[in-house]
């Protein structure tokens, strides 16, 4: 049985209920089990290890899949795999359930040798306790969620903030040491819960100060003020004009693509001019950027194209009588094609709603077809450059250098980790590529996340690794409580025998 020792949690402190002598109270769930040393609570997930509340989980192994259906490699003759490393050696030991060590200088819980294609590989497997970590959330929507820098709240506590908007997406930065340990006890607890849920792909409800109410779940569409977002915009208003100008030609005389960032006006736009379109004389409000491209036609909001507009005529400033003509056909449409209206100018040059002709509707539908489904994506960002390294090597800077030199591959629960350039070992991983429920927590509060360092055995020896603690994979399989799940075929296999420099 492996344990998640929890060095940072003290034997129940100020917020623990009074336990009987020699027992600790587990506050991981409302049952509040009192647990004697060496015993587990009712759930068998938390135990009392030498006075510290400790998570107890089996070690998670991932068996490599071969076919596209993701079926696990069948073991020879239908017998349970004996751990012998055959030509396909299909098992990777993840940090999930591996536990951690304290004090830090102790070798990592598992240092696994797995010869692969004639190369001796070593994987150092641990669960890091991350105080310095956060989740970066990308929400595919143009809708206005709240002002940049606005606090993001959950259960009334600040758990993060709105950060720089990116193309077609609103970005949040959630969690982090400031909210985990820098504020009130409740702020820390709620932040920890939010981070755990995000990492484990659970939905989290949050409120943006001065903005909207949101439900975010990795791999799912965002829910904004109770409405599930469907589409990510095809591009900004100007880009939409640029993509579809030719397809509108001949079917409509003017197109206004309403967008919170840049609203496009076809006949004025470079794309319309290039097609020799006659100027339509439709003038929109807002600040002109370049011909046919307008900033700030409205306020940001939940209406057309991320503006607060629900009646598109509100952005029409004037109709130039020298250019417009009776019978002129005008389409107004949003950047996702979800909102549209069609008008024809009457004798008095007023915009009169009319039935949208089929060829024009076809292009509106094509805008929709070209939108990708709106998703929330969640990246874990954690700093592993601190004391965790001592579990890998006696000379921690050697691990840092080995990673920078691409001799050591870093994975989080088997998922590839991007290592941020510069100092330290700051890793970033997509929670959707990690195993389900890969994240844990300790009452510090801090987040527990799996991390694995894989490198050639010779390189491990060279960086001062704990060579006397290296165990063959077969030994782990024979002696450790474990469970096996299928390898995510989309992830590169960390044990492919080459070093990380290989293309």
């Amino acid at each position: 049985m492996t344990t998640h020792a929890d060095p940072l949690s003290e034997p129940p402190g100020e917020d623990a209920l009074q336990a009987q002598p020699g027992k600790i109270v587990c506050n991981a769930c409302p049952v509040l089990c009192q647990i004697s040393a060496g015993r587990a609570g009712a759930c068998d997930r938390y135990a009392n290890v030498a006075g510290a509340l400790t998570r107890v989980d089996p070690l998670l192994l991932m068996a490599r899949t071969l076919d596209e259906q993701g079926a696990v490699v069948p073991f020879a003759g239908g017998e349970p795999w004996d751990g012998s490393v055959t030509g396909k050696a299909p098992v990777f030991v993840t940090g999930v359930g591996s536990g951690t060590t304290y004090p830090d200088y102790k070798p990592a819980p598992f240092i696994v040798a797995s010869p692969q294609a004639g190369v001796d590989m070593v994987t150092v497997v641990t669960e890091g306790i991350f105080s310095y970590c956060s989740f970066k959330v990308k929400i595919d929507t143009d809708r206005y969620l709240g002002p940049e820098c606005a606090p993001v709240r959950c259960q009334g506590e600040v758990v993060g903030h709105v950060t720089t908007m990116e193309y077609g997406s609103q970005m949040l930065s959630l969690g982090g040491v400031h909210h985990l340990t820098g504020g009130s006890k409740k702020e820390g607890r709620v932040t920890c819960e939010v981070m755990l849920s995000l990492g484990n792909r659970q939905p989290v409800e949050m409120q943006i100060e001065g903005g909207t109410q949101l439900v975010v779940q990795a791999g799912h569409a965002p829910v904004i003020n109770g409405v599930e977002e469907k589409r990510m915009r095809v591009g900004c208003g100007s880009a939409t004009i640029g993509i579809f100008a030719q397809q509108w030609r001949g079917h409509v005389d003017e197109v206004v693509v309403v967008d919170d960032h840049i609203t496009g006006v076809l006949s004025e736009h470079q794309a319309g001019r290039f097609l020799d379109m006659r100027p339509g004389g439709i003038k929109v409000i807002g600040r002109k950027s370049t011909p046919g491209r307008y900033f700030q036609v409205a306020n940001p909001g939940l209406g057309w194209g991320g503006t607060d507009i629900t009646d598109p005529l509100k952005i029409i400033k004037s109709i130039d009588r020298r250019e417009a003509w009776p019978g002129e056909r005008i389409l107004m449409v949003s950047t996702t094609g979800e909102d549209y209206a069609y008008f024809v100018l009457d004798e008095a040059l007023r915009m009169v709603p009319a039935e949208i002709p089929a060829p024009v509707m076809k292009v509106v539908e094509r805008i929709g077809e070209n939108c990708e489904p709106a998703l929330c994506t969640v990246l874990f960002l954690g700093g592993a450059g601190g004391s965790l390294r001592a579990g890998v090597t006696e000379n921690p800077i050697a691990l840092t250098r080995s990673i920078k030199d691409l001799l050591t591959r870093v994975t989080c629960g088997g998922a590839p980790a991007y290592v941020w350039p510069g100092g330290g070992i700051m890793v970033m991983a997509d929670v959707m590529r990690m195993p389900q429920n890969a994240f844990g927590w300790v009452p510090t509060p801090a987040i527990v996340a799996p991390i694995e360092f894989t490198l050639r055995r010779a390189d491990y020896a060279a960086l001062g690794g704990h060579m006397d603690r290296v165990r063959p994979l077969a030994d782990i399989l024979a002696h450790e409580r474990h469970r096996v799940v299928g390898w995510d075929a989309a992830n590169p296999w960390p044990l492919d025998g080459s070093d990380a420099r290989a293309p």
């Binding site: 991981a28 509040l32 819960e193 927590w441 474990h482």
Partner: protein, 289 residues
């Protein structure tokens, strides 16, 4: 931490809160199943908190557990009351009662054709007309999961709509709760999951014999949060001679027969050291290897 849920595959969900782990599946149109999972999830959100609120009463003798408010708590008491002549607490039916309660929400208004909620082996079933479930029996959990995969099934039951069975439960000394008996497993089919849970506990307690190879300890010494006080619970069973096994099986079978006569179960499979006794209607439904 609050309740969490995870999708296991296209149709199955895993709900977990503290010591409760449920695997649930609803059959029917996609939209109906999706609505069913949301209903079940909403129901599940309060289950543990409600139980914890009445935990002291639920850990005491069933005869004294009156005026309970929670729906799950009341199901537990109802399932255990028939056994009030011996010491039993409503906790004997907690797993089945939770499964039953969440199944009720999962099934909802009839668009779900069949469904189950599996609470660590105690299973609540819903079967529409013409539907059936095939349920696997694992006699030796220890052996079955030793390699972390490939669980060997020792037998199967076919539970059809026509049978008066909507609950399946398993008890034994190796399981997560403590047993006074020595059965490796007692699997019971009954009208409801809570009834099956209570009956399995009672029959497993009766699978018993005195022998030096059996080690027992007062419950409070091995479990900090037990409802069994000083009662001797089984902590290890060594290899037993033929006559001891036969005696324990006979004792369990008598208890199962007795419950059958009182309508408290529909059938039971008792496993002890590779010997199997089948009682009641199970024989017709089961194929044992």
């Amino acid at each position: 931490m609050g309740p969490t849920r995870a999708r296991l595959d296209a149709r199955r969900w895993h709900f977990q809160h503290g010591p409760i782990d449920l695997v649930l599946e609803a059959f029917g149109a996609d939209a109906a199943a999706a609505a069913a999972y949301e209903r079940a999830w909403r129901q599940f959100a309060t289950v543990l908190d409600d139980l914890v609120g009445e935990l002291p009463a639920l850990r005491g003798e069933v005869a004294l557990a009156t005026d309970l408010k929670g729906a799950v708590a009341r199901r537990m008491v109802a399932a255990c009351l028939p056994y009030r002549d011996v010491f039993v607490t409503p906790m004997a039916a907690v797993a089945g009662a939770v499964a039953e309660e969440v199944l009720g929400a999962l099934v909802g208004d009839g668009e779900v054709t069949k469904a189950y909620v599996n609470n660590g082996g105690d299973i609540a079933l819903h079967l529409g007309a013409g539907e059936s479930f095939r349920i696997g029996l694992v006699a030796d959990v220890d052996r079955a999961t030793r390699h972390g995969h490939r669980i060997a099934i020792d037998g199967t039951f076919e539970v059809t709509h026509a049978l008066p069975v909507r609950g399946v439960a398993t008890s034994g000394w190796r399981g997560r709760s403590w047993s006074l008996g020595i059965a490796d497993s007692v699997t019971v089919l009954a009208a409801t999951a809570a009834a099956a849970d209570a009956a399995a506990t009672m029959i497993a307690n009766a699978v018993n014999v005195d022998h030096p190879a059996i080690r027992r300890r007062p419950a409070f010494e091995v479990d900090d949060n037990t409802d069994l006080g000083r009662m001797p619970v089984t902590v290890d069973v060594g290899a037993l001679p033929e006559d001891a096994v036969a005696g324990a099986l006979a004792s369990g079978a008598r208890r199962a027969d007795d419950l059958l006569g009182r309508g408290l179960d529909w059938g039971a499979v008792i496993v002890l050291q590779s010997r199997v006794r089948v009682v009641g209607g199970v024989a017709a439904a089961a194929r044992l290897h």
